[in-house]
C-alpha cells in the first residue's frame, strides 16, 4: 500500500514569512497526526485529527500555527508568521481507528524539513 505522502520535503524561509505543509495519509486511515521534531529531540505531537475533527491540539501554538483536514483526508499545516525556533522537521502520521484495546500503528511520512533564517 502507498505510504503517507508529504510535501514539500524541504523548505527554507525567512522569519516572519508564512509556510504551509501538505500531508496525504494512507487511504482509509481515519486518524491523522502532525508532529514537530526539533534537532536532537523526539517528535512532539502538535495536533491530532479523527476524520475531519480535532481530537487534540493542546500543544499547537495557536497564535501562529493552524491546521485543517478538509473532507477527512488530506491535511495542511500552516505557520504564520514563522520564528527561528520553528526550524524543525514536521512529520505527518496516520493510523486506523482503534477498536477497544486494539493496538494500532502510526505510519509516518518522510517529513518536511523547515529552516527559518
Amino acid at each position: 500500500e502507498a505510504g503517507v505522502a508529504q510535501s514539500p520535503r524541504y523548505k527554507i524561509i525567512e522569519k516572519r514569512q508564512s509556510v504551509a505543509f501538505w500531508c496525504n495519509p494512507i487511504s482509509g486511515h481515519a486518524t491523522l497526526y502532525w508532529y514537530q521534531q526539533i534537532l536532537g529531540q523526539g517528535p512532539k505531537l502538535l495536533i491530532q485529527f479523527q476524520n475531519n475533527g480535532v481530537v487534540d491540539d493542546s500543544q499547537l501554538p495557536k497564535d501562529r500555527f493552524s491546521a485543517e483536514r478538509l473532507k477527512g483526508v488530506d491535511s495542511t499545516l500552516k505557520i504564520q508568521p514563522a520564528k527561528l525556533e520553528d526550524s524543525a522537521v514536521y512529520l505527518c502520521a496516520s493510523s486506523s481507528l482503534p477498536s477497544g484495546r486494539a493496538l494500532y500503528e502510526q505510519y509516518f511520512g518522510p517529513g518536511t524539513r523547515l529552516t527559518v533564517t
Binding site: 486518524t31 536532537g40 523526539g42 517528535p43 505531537l45 491530532q48 484495546r101 494500532y104 509516518f108
Partner: protein, 115 residues
C-alpha cells in the same frame, strides 16, 4: 504528565556486538510501548510494540524488548548488531484509555555500527 527517558544519546558498536538501549517512562498506569527506528534518509518506522501479554516482545530484524513494569522500563536489545542497524532509535509510550492516542517520544539514541 507522561515522559520518556532514553539514557544513551550516542552509541558506537562494532559489528557482532550486543546492543541494549535503555528506555524508562514516568507514568505508572496502563501503557502501550513502542520502539521506532529511523534509518538514514528514511522515515520513522515501527520496530516493535507491546500492549499486553508476554513482556518479552520480538520485533523485526532480530530486535526484542522487555517490559519490566516494576522498573517502568522497556529496553531494546539485539544479540548481534550489523552495519545496517546504523540508525536512530526512539522509544515511545502511549497511555491507554486516554481521550487521545498521543505518543510521547524519548529524545532518541543514535546508533553507529562500525564494520
Amino acid at each position: 504528565a507522561q515522559s520518556v527517558s532514553q539514557h544513551n544519546h550516542h552509541v558506537i558498536l562494532s559489528e557482532a556486538a550486543s546492543l541494549e538501549l535503555g528506555c524508562n517512562y514516568s507514568y505508572g498506569g496502563t501503557v502501550n510501548l513502542f520502539w521506532y527506528v529511523q534509518y538514514p534518509g528514511q522515515h520513522l518506522q515501527l520496530l516493535l510494540k507491546y500492549f499486553s501479554g508476554d513482556p518479552l516482545v520480538k520485533g523485526i530484524k532480530g530486535f526484542e524488548a522487555e517490559f519490566i513494569k516494576s522498573k517502568f522500563s522497556f529496553n531494546l536489545r539485539k544479540p548481534s548488531v550489523q552495519w545496517s542497524d546504523t540508525a536512530e532509535y526512539f522509544c515511545a509510550v502511549m497511555n491507554y484509555g486516554g481521550a487521545t492516542n498521543k505518543l510521547i517520544f524519548g529524545t532518541g539514541t543514535l546508533l553507529a555500527v562500525q564494520p
